[in-house]
């Protein structure tokens, strides 16, 4: 980053300003929480739960996006399309076999395969040209969205998950809550832990982390960078496809969902910090919860909350909450 950045608002805020902004943002938030709790505690908690499950979904989509970006500097603007691709393929497999688990596996596998082909056949030859790669993903997302619309039409599809995870679960305060959303929450946490284990405890994960820090040095140490890139892209794309089936079960799949999740992963990653999986988790929780509270309490302006969070982060920490300067 250029020297001119030094003049932008300081990243390390003085203690006074930190307190000032905590109060300016925190006080209204606390006041709102107190009012909402007193007014309708059930609505407040169920909104919070909805926010967390949405955050779980956002994390699944955004973690793959941020992983790919962190390593390859590839802004995959076809990530939302991969979500939709996984969802549709999962639907077809689930419809044919009647097994929801197979559908999830198919969603992951199809998107991962597609991502792998993309990396090996296209992006490998554009190494270092990040703007051109981004443009290619834009073109791909347009084509993919249209091909999917062609094949599957504009109808809304829903999945048929096993009965065991599709009922309702009694919970304190919110009384009953859809079991599937709790399962989604648990799955997302499990994926998060798995991803952490993969990145921190395996050899390939180590290579990926090294690549995020310094691609050139990783290549110079004799690691087959192309292999690491391919693995990362496959995992990132696969996570999007996985989220497609899992999220499509919680909500539904329809054309246009790709844009929604593309926006979600963009905002989550901008807020959380590009290239950081933990940042994606934090960003997903912030955005998911803000979006649900917005929808519940100020329906016509809910997207404004998302936007305000993004603007605040950009204003005070342009690299994102856990992001590092490139």
């Amino acid at each position: 980053m250029g020297e001119e950045r030094r003049r932008s608002p300081p990243i390390r805020m003085s203690r006074f300003w930190r307190w000032f902004w905590t109060l300016v943002i925190g006080l209204p938030a606390v006041a709102f929480a107190v009012w909402a709790l007193a007014d309708n505690a059930k609505l407040f908690f169920s909104t919070a739960m909805n926010g967390l499950t949405l955050a779980a979904l956002y994390f699944l989509v955004a973690s793959g996006f941020t992983l790919v970006f962190g390593l390859m500097r590839n802004v995959n603007l076809a990530h939302g399309s991969l979500y939709l691709l996984g969802a549709y393929v999962g639907y077809v497999i689930g419809d044919k076999t009647g097994s929801w688990l197979l559908a999830v596996a198919a969603g992951f596998a199809s998107a991962a395969l597609f991502g792998l082909v993309l990396q090996v056949a296209v992006f490998r030859f554009m190494h270092g040209e990040d703007m051109r790669q981004t443009m290619v993903t834009i073109g791909l997302s347009i084509m993919l969205a249209d091909i999917l619309l062609w094949i599957f039409g504009g109808e809304i599809y829903t999945f048929d998950p096993p009965r065991a995870i599709f009922g309702r679960t009694p919970l304190p305060i919110v009384e009953v809550y859809p079991t599937y959303r709790l399962v989604l929450l648990a799955m997302s946490a499990a994926i998060g832990v798995l991803l952490w284990w993969f990145l921190n405890r395996t050899r390939v994960g180590m290579m990926i982390r090294a690549g995020v820090d310094d691609r050139g040095m990783l290549a110079a140490s004799g690691v087959d960078v192309q292999f690491v890139f391919a693995v990362t892209f496959a995992i990132g794309a696969g996570l999007a496809g996985f989220a497609g089936v899992v999220g499509g079960t919680a909500l539904s799949i329809a054309p246009g969902e790709d844009t929604r999740y593309q926006l979600a992963s963009l905002v989550v990653v901008i807020v959380g910090g590009m290239g950081s999986v933990v940042g994606a988790a934090i960003g997903a929780i912030l955005i998911g919860v803000a979006e649900q509270f917005g929808l519940a309490y100020a329906p016509t302006y809910s997207v404004v909350f998302t936007f305000v969070i993004m603007a605040l982060v950009l204003a005070f920490r342009p690299q994102g909450i856990l992001g590092r300067r490139a």
């Binding site: 980053m1 001119e4 990040d130 051109r132 844009t259 926006l263 963009l266 901008i270 342009p318």
Partner: protein, 378 residues
Amino acid sequence: MNTGAGRYAWPASARERVSARPSVHPSPRPSPLRGEGVAWDGAWRWIGRRIGLRHVLVLLAVLIYPWVATPFFTFQIGAQALALGLIALSLTFLAGYGGMVSLAQMTVAGIAGYMFAIFATSGTDISLRWPWGLAVVLALVIATVCGTLIGWFSVRTEGIYTIMITLAIGVAFYYLAQQNYSLFNGFQGFQSVMTPAVGGVELRAPIPFYYLSLFWALAGYFFVAYLLRAPFGVALQGTRDNPRRMSALGFNVTAHRVAAYAVAGVIAAVGGVLMVWYNGLVSPGSVGTSWLINILIIAVLGGMRHPIGPFIGAVVFVLLQNFAVDLVGRERFNLLIGAVFLVIVLFSPDGLLGWWAQGRRYLQAQFAPARSGGRREM
């Protein structure tokens, strides 16, 4: 950090930039650096260098066009291409010369359209029914301010980050317009927005609207062409190529970039008002993701190395849009345009202008080997 942005898309070669420098201050005096003949000779050369035969031909062609074309071609193809080209021109200015690929230029145009619809007269009760002149001024001012604000946010980041942030802002505005009924009338948007009539001439009639669009397109083109040679434009291109060095030279890089967004905001806002007059409506669909990206497609299709690029791209885009029916059927237009975009990005980073320049160089090499390596006018 010198991101790939400058390197890939617009690697205006050093030679070209150097050769452009003597004409930074457009004065009729011959440049002492070149030591060319007497003053008169220099003046004629200067004019001759600027206004070639092709400029006259193109100008004549676009002026005569509506008198030979059918109203459909005048309005649907000609005027729409000019209005869209104007919006894409704002992106070309930002991306090609400032190195900032903003996907939110259609959002700025859309804000101008929405503001006009809100302040002027439309089929919706929300519209304030103020005089249309006032509405135009307000729409332009508000959209420009929004464009500048978007720039102010996104200059905090560079290169591909800019794409991400401007896309996020653009899509967020789309969802806001769709959700909000008190200001933006939600999903419906504003239908039958009234186009003004000046002195009994209905501006939305094909020929008046064509000339109106042509006027603003030419104004935008010459404004950008002038600005690029002015000190501001040269400094902006400097910040694209090497922000650190420009900063070390004492230029305020951030201020130049935000100013570039402001200029692009004005251009996009004018295009946005033209588009709302052209369509007679503005709805969330006008600022949806597909349109944000269509503007990028138009700019990339034409080529970002010259301000004429977006207009060429817009003509091709509009022709494809209208005649895709015969090629692939109306439903599959997105597939076609996506494929065209992909081919351009993969095989001709400079768009159609790049192919044009390549073809010229090839022909020059074929027919005049002695002149090979001569000046490139693109």
